[in-house]
Symmetry: C2
Subunit: 225 residues, 2 copies
């Protein structure tokens, strides 16, 4: 059974890679810098989207594509924070893929966007295997999930470009060894840009927003925009 499954999965992934490259070319041409947010359910992806959108709305033109199994709760929150928001309901699929992103890009006016945030389905495993075509991936971890997560979900930590450690305001109330957590992440992904913060209290958000702004500006500057 295992042998039978492998070639099919490879074929699907190959098609996905090609579509992801198409999505990337389209974003590049339009001058849209894009981030893919990955996380467990409840780590705070949507709260980070809300904070990022509401605090950068005066400086950057933002859009958000929200992937969920069901509901438009996340897109509603992103829109309320001030972004153009599109909801994708996967109807059961455990991750976004490049086809789904293509469909969402079709309904956006890319010429009116500087920064696009894609909020993937809450899942630490599957989204890491499906490229979307976005420029950078951001893993949103959270303190109450526990400090062993880099060790147990190495694929998610290995493939990302930035790590947000959300809910640091809960550190006094849970057993979380920040040094052990960061050592695990660093072993998988040396030099990973890391942002401990709290979307609830605002602590640490400035450093994260500076990173996002600098990455977006650098992307546009190198394209003469």
């Amino acid at each position: 059974m295992i042998n039978e499954r492998v070639p099919v999965v490879e074929r699907i992934l190959g098609a996905n890679e090609r579509l992801a490259a198409d999505n990337r070319a389209r974003l590049d041409e339009a001058g849209v810098f894009s981030l893919n947010f990955l996380a467990s359910p409840g780590a705070g992806k949507t709260s980070l989207v809300e904070q990022t959108v509401s605090r950068l709305a005066g400086q950057l033109r933002l859009a958000v594509i929200d992937g969920d199994i069901a509901t438009s709760l996340d897109a509603d929150r992103a829109a309320a924070a001030g972004a153009t928001a599109v909801q994708i309901n996967t109807g059961g699929d455990c991750h976004l893929d490049a086809v789904m992103l293509q469909g969402a890009l079709d309904v956006l006016d890319l010429s009116a966007i500087d920064l696009l945030i894609v909020e993937n389905v809450g899942n630490l495993v599957c989204p890491a295997n499906f490229a979307l075509g976005t420029h950078r991936s951001v893993l949103v971890a959270s303190v109450p999930e526990g400090d062993d997560k880099p060790y147990k979900y190495p694929g998610a930590y290995r493939g990302v470009d930035a790590l947000v450690i959300n809910k640091v305001d809960l550190l006094p109330y849970v057993d979380f060894d920040m040094e052990y957590f960061q050592r695990g992440a660093a072993a998988l992904n040396p030099g990973l840009a890391t942002f401990p913060l709290s979307c609830r209290t605002g602590e640490g958000l400035d450093q994260w927003l500076e990173w996002v702004t600098n990455m977006t500006r650098h992307f546009k500057t190198t394209r003469g925009m």
Copy 2:
């Protein structure tokens, strides 16, 4: 691409269902009552395993099968709490399936077990689609994940037999509307046995342990054991 994928997935699921039925027959014959724990990463499945094992060790003979992408951290914790523990590393797969459980059952002495707890991979989506053959499924939710999870992950809430709401000790520090959360769960799964508790403080654990003990005793009694 979608049309091409569906029949293959159905074929894999069909094979899985048959193996799950084999696993169930084997557990029934040996008089082993079995629970499948599902949850997001970090909701506290392993903490609940630890508490359940250490508090019931005098009354029931317990074994734990731990599914993880990588590491044996969870099986180590279950063994330290007093259970016979087997670790399955899926090596990337986002869920356990019936073949993996079959392999783990092979290395256990089922005649020496009353209650088997299977700790699935931390993932709110995929494990719900793969039957293992266990008797009951338990969803472990946690307060810091947020009160919108039943609405966003309906498949996980619809298919389970009991719901643990862990980390109630964090209720004063997060925005979590218990009534909204439980209304969502009840809409998907009316009459679901629900256990708000804290593995950290011990609050609410007695009701959960009573349910587990009663279910196990009832299973054995109806088989004349």
